[in-house]
């Protein structure tokens, strides 16, 4: 190699025409500043197509579903039940908002984690000298500032409809029942409505039970008790049954149904709504952070989005249905199962299964400590992986 001496160099010192009195601005710090977060928020929010899709899935689906129910109930109230109510709330939260909130958040996270790279902005940002870790971490509050309100709006709409359009009277097993009764009050009410209780409430008595002649004495016109055994060979004469015995039988049947009744409300309580809201926000935040880390790690958006959707609607339901002896710890390590462990009481288990027609219960059980560790682990590991790749990646 031939190197010719350079002679156009100035005298060597800093050129006085260029001022450089700037103070150190800590741009090597890993902490993002407010402006970085604000501009990242702007960058994500102005993706109109993405925002429209997220709003459509997370808000549009509940809005359309509940609006149709509202209209149907308004047009034909006898054919279509109320649009709101407690049961609908629990179904919407556990069945729709929980799952779609996660998918929406994961999609946004995957976008936030990859677009700088795919759109060529990453190297511009790196050349500013700002810490790459700070560039990564700025995406977290910016993305959460979008996803948390988005999930909250969808949830608030569901809450509003479920409360405002709740039925005015509770129907328990086809019988209008006052809401919020204590067990003694429920039994007292049952004693006052023995025929309705005996003919409609579910109960199971053996052929030799003392209750059998009593319930057989009540003339039911097609009651829907599931296991009621009325009449039959050898049934005692109904003329021997007194009104007091009938009322006592109704009390006993009511007592056996109280646990199920106690879970029925006209509309969700404020406490349940708050807990449910925080719960789906937690899951959405996890979805965002995992999506962010995964897409940053992979350097693209499409495949991570697909993987997140597969995790949510295929893998987690598949592995959560029932315990598998050799895979129990793998099942417990799924973040979806861990989060459902923190599900507020009163909601059916998202990924559980139903037994004897009752509410769904978790198929895989784990302690609260394990569930929290799994959740924290997912957040920390995926965030660390995404940040590590961002720091070490060629720009």
């Amino acid at each position: 190699m031939t190197t010719t001496a350079v002679t156009v160099a100035p005298d060597g010192g800093p050129d006085p025409r260029v001022t450089d009195d700037r103070a150190p601005d800590h741009r090597g710090s890993w902490v993002p500043n407010g402006a970085m977060i604000a501009t990242r928020f702007m960058e994500l929010r102005r993706r109109r197509g993405l925002m429209a899709a997220l709003i459509l899935v997370n808000i549009g689906i509940p809005v359309v579903f509940l609006t149709v129910r509202l209209v149907a109930h308004a047009v034909a109230p006898h054919s279509y039940g109320p649009a709101g109510g407690y049961d609908l709330f629990t179904s919407m939260v556990a069945g729709v908002l929980f799952v779609f909130g996660f998918i929406v958040a994961a999609t946004l996270g995957c976008t936030a984690g990859s677009v700088d790279l795919t759109e060529g902005m990453f190297r511009h940002l790196v050349v500013t000298g700002r810490s790459r870790l700070a560039l990564y971490l700025a995406r977290i509050p910016a993305g959460l500032a979008i996803i948390v309100p988005l999930v909250a709006v969808g949830f608030a709409f569901v809450c509003a409809v479920c409360v405002l359009a709740a039925p005015t009277q509770l129907e328990f097993q086809g019988v209008p029942v006052p809401v919020g009764l204590s067990q003694p009050a429920f039994e007292t009410w049952a004693a006052g409505h023995p025929d309705e209780v005996i003919c409609n409430f579910g109960f199971d008595i053996g052929p030799n039970s003392a209750l059998l002649p009593v319930v057989n004495s009540v003339p039911c016109g097609g009651g829907n008790g599931p296991s009621i055994q009325k009449g039959g060979p050898g049934a005692p004469a109904t003329s021997q049954v007194t009104q007091a015995q009938v009322e006592d039988a109704a009390r006993q049947i009511a007592r056996s149904n109280y646990a199920d009744y106690a879970r029925r409300f006209l509309s969700p309580s404020v406490s349940l709504m708050v807990k449910s809201g925080l719960w789906i926000e937690l899951y959405a935040a996890i979805g965002f952070l995992v999506g962010l880390g995964l897409s940053s790690l992979m350097g693209q958006r499409t495949v991570p989005v697909i993987l997140m959707i597969v995790l949510e609607i295929v893998l987690t339901p598949l592995l959560s249905h029932s315990p598998i002896a050799h895979l129990l710890n793998v099942q417990r390590s799924l973040v979806g199962i861990a989060v459902t462990h923190l599900e507020p009481g009163g909601l059916p288990s998202v990924f559980g299964n139903s037994q004897n027609g009752g509410p769904r219960v978790p198929g895989v059980t784990e302690s609260t400590t394990v569930a929290i560790c799994v959740i924290v682990g997912w957040i920390v590991v995926w965030t660390a992986l995404g940040a590590w790749r961002m720091v070490t990646r060629d720009a």
Partner: protein, 323 residues
Amino acid sequence: MTTTAPPAPVPDADGQWAVETHGLTKRFKDNVAVDGVELLVPRGCAFGYLGPNGAGKTTLIRVLLGLTGADAGTMSLLGYEVPRHRDRALARMGAIVDEPRFHGHLTGRQNLQMLAAAREPAARARIGPSLERVGMAQRADDKVSKYSMGMRQRLGVAACLLGDPQLLILDEPMNGLDPGGMLEMREMIGSLVAEGRTVVLSSHLLDEVERTCDAVAIVDRGKVIRQGPIADLLAGAAFELQVDCATPERAAALLGGTAWAAGVHPGPDGLRVDLAAGTDREVVAEVNRLLVEGGVSVYRLQEVHASLESWFLEVTTRLGVDR
């Protein structure tokens, strides 16, 4: 009472060189993209970094900026040792690497806001002036997806100016510019240099580099093979003498036997005499004397020095033969 040792002092931005590398090497598996580069870019000048496609120009820039790591060697930018003090160096720099790409769904101004947010607070106040300076103020609020390549180049330069840089590194800044845009870019680079800033630009447009830059480095196969002021480099190149005369064949016979004529090429209107690099100017007078004394009527003598382009081709062609 305990005392804490003060942190090691960080060298301030001084020193003769804006960019200084020693033995800088970057490999991609078996391919050595940057091969022991010794580069010295003086402060306050426009410096061209030239080389054929695949010579390693962009890779060297990426290594300097920390976009990818070096495998060996040392480097400093504006006197700051990097990568140790890269954040301090980059705070005083601006750069475009490859084609400038931005978020297409944002406007030019919004893209600059994102970049300014990552810089010091004062950078936000420079967005407007930067856009003004590159002639993008009128289109700053249009989406970047609607920009032409030339407009993106200008926006890239505006992004470089956000940090009030002492050193700008521009990778092919003339790409996509129309002749008017190239002229404006050349003038802008000149004005930046006039302000005392250093501009390093890589380009394959040798003519533009010759007009824009004070010094150049030629890179080939990852190695810097020549560097220095353009005038000095071309002074070391061969040149030719155009001779308009009445009898070119006779003139060729007279000059063909001389020691200093590397080649004599007669034509219908005269002849061309190749002179070796470093030939004394007195040779021109000697040519005239020989021809006149030999009975050849001489109408005109003209020295034709090599352009950067011809010199570049000469250098790279010789290298090609050596391979």
